[in-house]
Assembly symmetry: D2
Homo-oligomer: 106 residues x 4
């Protein structure tokens, strides 16, 4: 995400004095709520979806993720790289290739 | 997200031949599932959470969002800025300041 | 649900002194979390699911719904019939037959 | 749930020829989506909720659970009692009393 996009998201919250609502717990609820609105685009059909609607709901999820990074003062690349290191160990290429099996059943 | 982080996420999927599972519908389910795992960190208590666990689950949500951007060939900043323009109109500062009321009840 | 099943669910909570955690908000989170665990049974494949796992996760959702009915002192049949009356009006047979379209686009 | 409520839910689906959409996977998505709408009643505030709205969203979750029981030909009391037996073993009273700790950390 470009720094100016990050700043726009922050300004949106600050202009409305909404930092008071952005507790980690409320943001976790918000991410889950928006993720379900994204899922709703595929509720009855996996392939016949409204792309414009998908883009909006995916953006909402990502904006709340950005809010949570801010509130917890986390670095996006740091937490993702740290998790990717774990994922790479949990799903070794030779075991996981071409299979959607969960790591604890590989 | 840094380009090298984006590339690491892509390589993880490609190395395991998992593109076949990454349909938009499956990724929407996956984002919702990981968002609920993040929510689980706050299931019984809003303030006494395990920060390391929160970081991992938030990272998982963001990785699947990145996967969906890739599959749909979307630009993160473009879709977020487009949605922010809508949000700014839906929640005018003078009406929304200091209130968590949903836009359709403002 | 049979009355003895309802009583077993209540006793489970009471024996563990868990009423203190069963606020409506915490139960709403819990229902969402268990619903996502049910969804996880279908994360990568819509038809090749583990029925035993599905049964367990569906049961978990229903148990938390039962807890919420108890905490809010609601009658299951009353709230469902009240909602069905609304659903029947929102989705008139002649408009909705054979279509999965959402009511506001019918 | 009274048998007449069960029948009303079934008739609603049949009258609209919606059995075709009620695959287990689609119902799992639907339960998750409605559970998140229930969660939305508590998005920014745990205690100041709209009870009428909560009742409607809880009813929606329970209706889709009922649909899933029907599609998979499951008995509600059977799957819940089977899961309660597991829960009772996972959370022994002497270990779990008064604590919201997850079973794998008890």
């Amino acid at each position: 995400m470009k720094q100016e996009t990050v700043e726009r998201i922050r300004k949106f919250t600050e202009d409305r004095d909404w930092e008071q609502f952005h507790t980690p717990a409320n943001l976790a609820k918000s991410i889950a709520i928006e993720a379900s609105e994204l899922l709703e685009c595929f509720q009855w059909n996996d392939t016949d979806y409204d792309l414009e609607h998908v883009k909006e709901e995916l953006a909402d999820v990502m904006v709340y993720c950005r809010n949570m990074l801010d509130v917890l003062e986390l670095d996006e690349d740091e937490i993702i790289n740290s998790k990717m290191t774990k994922n790479e160990a949990k799903y070794p290429v030779e075991k996981a290739a071409g299979r959607s099996t969960k790591y604890d059943q590989l």
